[in-house]
Amino acid sequence: MGILLGILNNLIKGISLGSIYAIIALGYTMVYGIAKMLNFAHGDVIMVGAYVCFFAMGQYKLHPIVAVLLAMAVCTVLGVIIERLAYKPLRAAPSLAVLITAIGVSYFLQNSALLLWKSDTKIFPSVVGTGSFKIGELSITHVALVTVAACVVIMLALTFFTSRTKMGKAMRACSEDKGAAMLMGIDVNRTISMTFAIGSALAAVAGVLLCSAYPTLMPTTGSLPGIKAFTAAVFGGIGSIPGAMLGGILLGIIEIFAKAYISTALSDAIVFAVLIIVLLVKPSGLLGKTIREKV
């Protein structure tokens, strides 16, 4: 009974962590789908979102929900500005130039955070408190529950958006063929901005949830989860929204189980090893279709 309970507990932890990866991975995958670029600054937008929420709650004593909404608003604007200033001028540039720019933006955000908010670790107060539900001997933290719920809501909302709304369909049209989309009267630049806005707002949510579960916040907080979520997006099939969800959740489960049953120190290595194996067997990822040329 003890072993089973342990497995169940770890599964819940894994799904919860995986939901955070999934929310971040959605940002990577949507931006990749439409702009065909890897936005390596995405992880750092998470960090900015967490800081905004931290100060809004701590210094300005805002209600957690207001603080989260504020963080989403700030990240949305930040994402759109990054796209406009750093990536839009490179629309016709080789993909390597865009990739290097994205890495540059990532360092820029990290170092700006260092300058503004110093390097000391902030202890992030959970937005939903530290309580937990008990079902028999099983305990589920409120954070885990809210995280999984947020992930499900986001997934449903995005599915509705891309399959039922005019702008969502326009987004899919742009990701398939920008030239043809323009001939339909779709403003491709505006659609790309909108995608960055959505991805960055989700990054803020992920940042808040991540820091609520693992309450240390510093300028590099977003970087490793960012890389892992990128891995999750590739794992699930980059460009695919359900793929990002599946990839994120599986990655979270693998990481937690590796930590619990194999080695805490090796857990990240195991996560990336799984990625390498999956890509060797199925290069387009779990739910990916044909991979299009371009980094």
Binding site: A173, A180, M184, G185
Partner: protein, 233 residues
């Protein structure tokens, strides 16, 4: 309706369009014919704003198209069915058609769909299928239907017969004639000169980026040089 004057287009160092001028009057079917690489598609892409001319002018319904981005050109009443059809393969037939009506108010989408389905019953049968599962002929119909959803005054068709079986080519050309009779002006780019000239009121012959001959469809069909170069004798 469309007046193109002295345009020049370059791809890097390549001078693809050399001082081309032509016009399309309301109610006409006008065709641009010529060999592969003569600049026909480039001309259409320049009109719809995907490419830019360094000189000259393009006027549509007495309005200059200079500096108007392609996504705004559509709402002026100019629709472009690109070469290779370019339907959205991962979207359903109906979603493709909805995208065609992107610039129209929502209230027009349903009547627009009804019109297109009436003209292309095949598309109605397949409206929930993703476009990637359609045959080449069906995809061409979808590409044309999608363009019609924007309620164009001028419809530009780039190689609608490309890759289609002869029976389908005839069907597509019948549809082009019908659309024209129903009031749509048509600018048609074709390698199948025989078919294009037989439906067109007027035609222009392009060779390596220049217009070399012009005349009515019937005149060009009888022109010795045209016969020799494009009609197989």
């Amino acid at each position: 309706m469309l007046k193109v004057e002295h345009i020049n287009v370059y791809y890097g160092a390549i001078h693809a369009i050399k001082d081309i001028s032509f016009e399309v009057n309301e109610g006409e079917i006008v065709t641009l014919i010529g060999a592969n690489g003569a600049g026909k598609s480039t001309t259409l892409q320049t009109v719809s704003g995907l490419l830019h001319s360094h000189t000259g002018s393009i006027r549509f319904m007495d309005k200059s198209l200079a500096g108007i981005p392609p996504h705004k050109v559509v709402s002026l009443g100019l629709a472009h069915v690109p070469e290779g059809r370019r339907v959205f393969l991962q979207m359903t037939v109906e979603e493709n058609l909805e995208m065609g009506a992107f610039t129209r108010p929502n209230s027009e989408i349903y009547p627009g769909l009804e019109d297109v389905y009436q003209r292309f019953p095949r598309l109605k049968e397949r409206r929930r299928q993703v476009a990637g599962t359609l045959s080449g002929g069906e995809q061409q119909m979808l590409a044309m239907g999608r363009a019609l959803m924007s309620k164009p005054k001028l419809l530009m068709l780039d190689e609608p017969s490309m890759g289609l079986a002869p029976i389908l080519v005839e069907q597509i050309f019948d549809i082009i004639k019908e659309l024209n009779r129903a009031g749509t002006t048509i600018l048609l780019v074709e390698q199948n000169a025989q078919m294009a000239l037989s439906v067109a009121h007027r035609g222009y012959v392009l060779e390596t980026g220049k217009i070399v001959t012009t005349g009515t469809g019937a005149q060009l069909l009888e022109d010795e040089a045209v016969k020799k170069a494009y009609l197989g004798g």
